[in-house]
Amino acid sequence: MPVPSRAELVRLGFARADRAERFLADPLLSPMSRELIEAIAASADPDEATIGLLRLMESMDRAGLREQGRAILAGESGRDLVRVLGASVALGDHLTRHPETLSALLGGQDEPLASAEAYRTRILEAVGADPGSAIPVASGTGDELRIAYFTSLAGIALADLTAADPVALQVRVSQALADLAAAALEGALALARALTEDHEQVLLSILAMGKTGARELNYISDVDVLYVVAPAGGAEVSGETLTAVGGALARHVARVCSERTAEGSLWQVDANLRPEGKDGELVRTIDSYRRYYERWADSWEFQALLKARPVAGDPGLGAAFVDLVQPMVWQASTREGFVDDTRAMRRRVVDLIPHAETERNVKLGPGGLRDVEFTVQLLQMVHGRGDETLRTRGTLEALSLLRDGGYVSRAQADEMDEAYRFLRVVEHRIQLHRLRRSQVIPDAPADLRRLARTVGLGTEDFARRIGSVRRRGRPLHEEIFYRPLLQTAAGLSDGEVRLTPASAQARLAAIGYRDPVRATRHIAALTGGVSRSAAIQRQLLPALLEWFADGIDPDMGLLAFRRLSEEAGSTHWFLGMLRDSGVAAKRLTRVLSSSRYVGDQLVAMPYATRWLSRDEELRPLRAAELGEELTASMRRASSVADAVTVVRDVRRREITRIALSRLSERIGPIEVGGALSDLADAELAAALDLAMTEENARGIRMAVIALGSFGAREMGYASDADVQFVVEDAGAGEDAVSQGIRVATAVQKILNAPSAGMDMKVSADLRPEGRAGALARSADSWEGYYRRHAEHWELQALLRARVCAGDADLAARLEESLDALRYPAEGLTPARERDLSRMKARIESERLPRGVTPERHLKLGRGAMTDVEWVVQKLQLAHAGADPSLRIVGTLPALDALAAAGILPADEAEELAEAWLLAWRLRRALFLWKGRETDALPADRTDRRALALLVEGSDASARSLEEHYLRVTRRARAIAEREIFGEVMHRLPGETHP
């Protein structure tokens, strides 16, 4: 027939019509029918189909198959052929290399989607082995295996690509691919036997895992396997022979399958799911597997075993393996560690996606193939323990069984099934093109167009369809898993899902709720009734339940959420915000499931919940901002009592903000100390301002010196503020000090007024002469005291002092005096050094509260904060007089400076910093977790586990935290002892370790 014109070719969809015109005019293609040209035009890539067809005809010509070629071009089979050529360059290449296989492929001699048995026969015959033998041994070569494999693969592709509804056919295609892979393993094993001496002494069975095991394979992927060995025919075979011969067979199988020759390569055989992974023995006996699975295996390994299926080698041995592991698989959900493993796996499924590819990867990420597989498998593990009808390997089969069993609603199961098949078809088409293992949708326009056409869609429709499937995927997971929980809790049923209360509770328990009965009650309370808020809750809760489950204490989180909803649920913004802002909802679940303190605060002031949707609200306010607000609103207050309320409210609000900010990871752990100290600064400044006014103190200037953790800006959520008041005459004359004392008293009254909340206590007990001394002193008298009368430890305390509020000129003067007093030019005299060591020793024996073992006290304990701080102080006293770089208030920066100055070895400074910081963080985290200040590493393991998760992240456990803390503080103690007490301390009779 005449070749269509260029214009017509363009119209038909050829991208390079000029080239197509030339190719189509080739005499070899002259028998081509009009229908065939239209079929080419309808193929995924008409240009590639044309080239492929021409090359194939040339090759047939060379092989003396010209007549057969002409028949194909003229007949109907050509139209099927060009579908394959347009979609797969790789299969086109294979057919061109082996034109002799074409007639069988197109002539209908070989069933395109054959049975497992038929593939096995084909492959074994191809490698010259007897399919009828129990132990087939090959006489052929690996290339013969590869040719037979790709020929059958081309058959599957043909059936797939010419199907009227490929999405409907997907399951059958995947089964055929898995059966073909199994046959290839059998062929490879037959080849391996021919290469292995003594192979007849050993029975070997190959179990397929993963997609091959579940008979849901794609065109090209690693094939996951396990190998089982046994002595053949009751022979006496030593363990070493079994291992050696079995191992050799397994290695040959893997090599045959992965080797790349001119005929291409099949795939990698991956045996890494075996016991002990890469380091484990490649082949094992049934007994050896039993020992491992009974004693060692992790719960995820049993989830992998769910898919195990004997595919090659000795069938009896394979069956014995399945009999061994199946009962264990279905008990896995009751094992310790199942919940943790499941959580970890979900994190991997949902979180760890390479960002650039998220949208284009059909396998990974939310709503991807793996997400569906995970959801189905989790439901299977949870419910399959009690319901044997769910025990099947394939994802879609399991999904339909879950639907039939009433565990998943029909509509959702169908939707998920459809989405899954569609994504699988897309994946198949991506892989077919060059037979590369990929799940990424290409972004080059030509590639994307070809891909879209293979699934019968235009480029834009394709993108839309993919997008909608992906977007729907994640919520669908939550719907399927959690929606029925709501219905069961509320006693509702949509007639399809019939989850018993016990099944619903099993689901909650599987994802980490410790008290599923009570959780069900909370769910019922939140979603019951016909109110608008109940309706929104029904919409929100499936996702929230999952996020609580990701938190430290899902039960606490859900309870707090219920209380918060009862407080704020009727406001116009609360549920709306959670519905509209995924970030806010996610943060709220994290906060409520990690902090009893914040939970209580939010219930008391629900408006703070709104901050979670706005990053700028989660920034701790700066001291100046706070100062302005406090001063202004306290001046507005009608009485001192009102002013006290103002301070208290602002304090409470800001502490909550800092805690929310920390838990949402907007600020780091150390910034918390700074933010809390800023807050305390502002409170003191405002209180001082108010007190000066109230006391009518016009003739004086005043300043407040902060000491201790307040001075060092290392405060905790409930730290007290240690201060000293200094006054300077500005006209009051002799009355100045007594005015100052009145002001200082008023400041304390304002800030220390009793209340139910946790207030910061302002204490001036560290002033000169202690409680016996005057509450405020003149600057001269203050300086005079420290110059002439102060004891060494009082001067040492000044190392953590700074002026935090008051008159600027006076502050400058005091800062100057502070430096002169605390960094002695002469350094640490022997007498003073002795004094310091003695004081430290005395504190150790006296301060520690009864009932707390020294290793576990986070502040005063062995190697804890005080030990580290004393090292810093001693070294500052000794060296800061001479070296101004050491004049730093604050433990961590001072340690850095000491290391930089070469006074402390860098590794020691680091170990001290690690111990100090860990103790500091634990104290802060303890407050958030329990809602109150505690200074001992908790005895309760639940508390310790929570701390571990808060401070050390998701992999930590109660024991690992304890071990870590005891270790770093033990090391810090050793350094501190050396630095503070000198050389190694010998234990004397009767002395206990401090």
Partner: protein, 451 residues
């Protein structure tokens, strides 16, 4: 995270056996940090609870097991260790199981010695190595319990390998062995030892956890049998200063997939590189773990009381004075290649001692320690200067020095976990203090009338 599977099958076996043999009591065995056997008896009715939930005990009464404020502990029996106690009769008798100690929420207790050994063995097993031990346990038989002021009277006066006509010793060993074998503990060898009344019984090699369980059982069996014969057995390291001490020479080996990794045909002494590194680890950390292999004040009197005790840190091929000895082996028998550690005494806590030895050896393998030259000579015949020239250090001379080396050891803290580490430090310093708080006869004799 590895954990034990619910071993329902084993559980059922145990419950069935208890039923069949009409066992009346089941003793749940575990041990404290010192290595003293502790026992809680339950009735068959409580068995199922014991397996599924564990049996609660008040851990605060047990040395080193808990901190005072966290005293509730659970015992979970290991059904694989179920045995009836032969001296209690086969019918209507008593059985025992070894237990893991757990916290109330099912986590292994940090302070359970069995846990310490399991952890170290797990770490080795993660590298594909299985740890086997084969102990030779020495002990004395005396005519009666020690009483202050009375000299100790051994039951005989024989020596090494002597055939003792006094039938007591032979009968004794025969009964002990038959009991042990009834409890499925294989005995390799037994004979009369050097000292009067001293015996040695070698247990067949097994994985280190089983061996440690067996040693605990063994000590109990020996004491029971002795009592039944009107004698008293003692595992004290050095009960009589002028007689040999009670050592527990232990052969150590590592296997990978059924193959002894210490063995390399053709290499010097058949020792593989791994074996050399392992021995190097044993030597380098010997002072650090002495507190565990030789845990009592009295232990150091064995180590420093001559009589072939290994007082110096060195190794040798068939050198009976070396701390680590590489025995002759049959060249064809790859599986028997092993390393004999001669420092242990019979009073050690076998769980902690085996854990320390494995940990030290593994450290040598991981960090590829170089093995120093072997010692050819009998080390205690060398002068101090000669030894210094050869780079051979002494083991700690007393418990206090051992504690100093122990306290400095990061490796020991890592092997034991911080809590057991800390407990041992306290407990052993107390022991040292008690020892020092006495005025001995020697002092009175040499000083009282002197000035």
């Amino acid at each position: 995270m590895r954990q034990t599977v619910p071993m329902e099958r084993h559980h059922d076996d145990v419950i069935r056996t208890v039923q069949d043999r009409d066992v009346r009591f089941i003793r749940l065995w575990f041990c404290d940090v010192v290595g003293t056997l502790k026992s809680v008896a339950i009735s068959p009715a409580d068995l199922e609870t014991a397996f599924t939930e564990g049996i609660g005990i008040d851990g605060s009464t047990i040395e080193g097991l808990t901190r005072a404020y966290e005293s509730d502990m659970l015992l979970r029996p290991d059904p694989g260790t179920f045995q009836t106690l032969p001296w209690r009769g086969e019918v209507s008798g008593t059985a025992r199981m070894m237990c893991d100690v757990l916290t109330p929420d099912g986590e292994a207790a940090a302070s359970d010695p069995r846990r310490v050994l399991k952890d170290v063995m797990d770490r080795a097993e993660a590298k594909g190595l299985e740890y086997f031990t084969h102990p030779e346990i020495e002990f004395y038989l005396f005519q009666e319990q020690w009483r202050d002021g009375q000299p100790l009277r051994p039951i005989d006066n024989a020596g090494y390998f002597d055939h003792v006509h006094h039938a007591g010793g032979q009968d004794f060993r025969r009964t002990v062995i038959s009991y042990l074998e009834a409890m499925n503990i294989q005995v390799e060898y037994s004979h009369h030892e050097n000292g009067p009344g001293q015996n040695e019984i070698d247990l067949r090699y097994a994985d280190a956890l089983t061996t440690a369980d067996n040693i605990l059982t063994f000590r109990t069996v020996v004491k029971e049998v002795a009592l039944s014969m009107g004698q008293v057995a003692s595992f004290m390291p050095k009960p009589m200063f002028d007689r040999p001490g009670n050592g527990m020479h232990t052969h150590l080996s590592l296997f990978s997939n059924g193959k002894n990794v210490f063995h390399e045909p053709g290499a010097e002494f058949g020792l593989s590189r791994t074996a050399r590194q392992f021995i190097a680890g044993l030597l380098r950390h010997a002072s650090e773990y002495a507190v565990l292999t030789n845990q009592f004040v009295n232990s150091y009197k064995r180590l420093w009381g001559a009589q072939e005790a290994p007082s110096f840190i060195c190794w040798g091929h068939n050198n009976r004075s070396a701390l680590v000895r590489v025995p002759f082996h049959k060249p064809t028998k790859g599986t028997s290649s092993r390393v004999e550690f001669r420092g242990l005494d019979s009073a050690a806590n076998p769980y902690l001692a085996f854990a320390a030895l494995l940990g030290a050896g593994m450290k040598g393998i991981e960090e590829e320690y170089e093995l120093p030259e072997g010692a050819e000579d009998t080390v205690w015949q060398l002068t101090d200067r000669e030894r210094r020239a050869l780079g051979i250090d002494p083991l700690p001379t007393d418990l206090y020095r051992a504690l100093e080396a122990f306290e400095e050891s990061e490796l020991m803290a890592e092997i034991l976990g911080e809590q057991v580490f800390e407990h041992i430090l306290r407990n052993k310093h107390d022991e040292w203090h008690t020892y020092r708080s006495q005025v001995t006869g020697v002092e009175l004799e040499t000083t009282f009338g002197r000035i």
